[in-house]
């Protein structure tokens, strides 16, 4: 892992299905940054994240995670990142403890490292009292929190989250947001997509807006404000995507 490299470097990324889903996307996200990727439905956000997570092969372009080329060394690149889709990747017939054991096994985390981490995460996310239940009985928020614990068990540098707050109640939403901010404060990187613009406005250091698979605007909230002369992120978003 090169210390000087950005956490995520995407260049000339393309993916076409029936039409171009991602069309020459360039993106650089520094270490310790929380980056929000916004866009209308079908803009290419999820396709981009799935390509970065190694779940979808790009037609063209390059992806580097912490200086490691995803195409050349997929296992190396994946080792330092975690992906959390909007539908949590859980096993209904496993208990939270067993799920965390499994995820730690996939990432090859040693038990002496994983166990205190697992206890801490379950505790932080208020899941300890449910640790002996099968996850199939969990609410949407509990599932999302457990999936997040699974994503953090191997202490990834880069955390990729697709709509992490959808369907969560206020309490669960606050817990997830706190955990993300804590991850960033410790030098971790977060890239997330969300339709809840207020979340992006309050959490993200930089915001990217994607439409038709292309990045049409990017910057801090202030930079976007100056570019659009709009007051709120909602106005900026609607103006930039031509929906105003």
């Amino acid at each position: 892992m090169k210390m000087e490299s950005p956490s995520l470097l995407v260049s000339g990324l393309r993916k076409q299905f029936a039409r171009p889903a991602v069309d020459g996307l360039d993106l650089t996200i520094a270490r310790g940054e929380l980056y929000a990727l916004l866009g209308p439905n079908g803009a290419g956000k999820t396709t981009t994240l799935r390509m970065v997570a190694g779940l979808l092969a790009p037609d063209a372009g390059r992806i580097e995670v912490n200086g490691i080329d995803l195409a050349l060394d997929p296992a190396g690149a994946k080792r330092s990142m975690a992906y959390l889709p909007d539908d949590p990747m859980l096993y209904g017939k496993l208990k939270p403890t067993e799920y965390l054991e499994f995820v730690a096994g996939l990432w090859g985390v040693d038990g002496s490292t994983a166990e205190p981490r697992a206890r801490q995460l379950l505790d932080w996310l208020d899941l300890t009292k449910h640790a002996h239940e099968l996850t199939e009985g969990f609410s949407r928020g509990m599932k999302q929190k457990l999936a997040l614990a699974g994503a953090l068990i191997h202490e990834p540098q880069l955390l990729i989250l697709d709509e992490p707050l959808t369907g969560l109640d206020a309490g669960a939403s606050r817990q997830v947001k706190d955990l993300l901010l804590s991850h960033v404060a410790k030098g971790g990187t977060v890239i997330l997509t969300t339709h809840i613009l207020e979340v992006a406005e309050r959490l993200a250091q930089r915001i990217g807006i994607i439409q038709h698979g292309r990045l049409i605007a990017q910057g801090t909230l202030e930079q976007l404000r100056q570019e659009t002369e709009a007051e709120t992120l909602e106005d900026m978003f609607l103006q930039l995507t031509g929906q105003a």
Binding site: F102, L106, W107, G108, G137
Partner: protein, 517 residues
Amino acid sequence: MIARPGSALWLLHHEVRLFWYTTLASKKGKEPRGFHWKLLVPWLVIWLAIHAGGWYVVGKVFDGAAEMPQTLVVAASMLLVATFLFMLSSALKSSVEVLFDRGDMDLLLSSPLPSRSIFSVRLAGVVLGVASLYLFFLAPLAHVGLLQGHPRWLALYPVLLGMAAIASAAAMLLTLALVRWLGARRTRVVAQVLGALAGALLFILSQLPNLAVQTGASEGILARMARSSADIAADSLVWLPGRALLGDPMGAATVGVVALLAFALTVALTHRSFTRGLQLTAGIAKPSTRPTGALRFRFHQNLATTLIRKEWRLILRDPQLISQVLLQLLYLIPVLFLVFRKDGAQTLAVGTGLTLLCGSLSSSLAWIVLLSEDAPDLLQSSPANPRTVRHAKLAAAVGPVLALVCVPVLWLTWRAPVSGLLVAFTVCGVAIGSTLIVMWTGKPGERSALARRGQGNGVSAIFELSHLFGWGALAFMLPYAANQAQTGLGMAAGIGFAGAVAGGMPLLAWVFRRRTH
């Protein structure tokens, strides 16, 4: 006639439409889901073929006799017992589906429709759904009987509907009772297992005479039952269902009255319970398991062990899956009796049975483990070596099957070493081959679709079946040839052909493998 919206008849029409959509309507996304004659054509052809077969059978069996032969009454009674067990099995599954799986009950119960009507129609829907399959296959006999001068045979319609009503009422009452006693969450599991067992019970019952009685090899089960039932008087109530099926007015009337009473009583007594049961199911996502002690983790395993443990846990904790897989194990029971019987000696049949069972079980487990992964993205987004993951999953599928049959195979080897070793070879071969075929050509799906995994994937089904029969034939012929002083040319050719099929199918599966895997 168009039923008045909101009436029970209107609701029944809705129920029938749902039945059509879930059973016969086109499953292809672009095709409209309504009524199409072209969808009925293949069923019509099969139905006419059954009529043709029925014409031959009825003519031969009944032979114009004015009185019902007692053998026919016994056969009809046995047929009804078997049918009732299968109906009960289907009705239990349908009751669970109506109670738990269909997502429209909240809508119906929040409407101004009386819950009594909703429950009546739901139960009627279950009855029609349960009866339809048996009417399809058995009604041709009644039609043929009518054409051959036995109009009484039309009693088959009310009798089958009556039996379906009794089975459905019993199943619904049992389901509701289970909800009350065990809670909604456990009921789902128990009812599914009971449903599977009710069907399997018939197989076990049919095998009991084979296991318990040392009779001549060629005596048919019907003749054996007729012989053992000779002590029961012909006009006994025991034969009433059979007589009813063959058109005895008193018998048919009795079945009809009992069915109507069962239906009416079930509706009258339980429509409130039904609503209570449904309300309980709303809490299905909230298990009240209390924490049991301190947190305990077991992180100290390698990736392969972690994966195998995960797969086995998921299977062992899924009673529905287990009931479907274990159903195949029930067929092992008669084989085991033969293996451990002291005069046993039916090595060829045992070896073939074990091999076929192994192949079938391996295919099911391989599909569950390899193709119904709950979180494929998690595995793919992890740095875990895909080859290690695949190998661990193969081991998770094949391991339990081989462990299961190792005792009978070892026993066989102890008694007849050469035959035992050959059976061990065919058992290992079929288990590995079946798993590979599923891995390469199987169609991914959810675990709940295990029973329907072959649908829309004919190539894989053909490979699996051919492979299974190839190894089954080898398991029969190899020990046979090994025990002969000289192997004939025909036997050698047979072994060669079976070996080519057994070995060739996995190769073909690899050639036609799904590229997405």
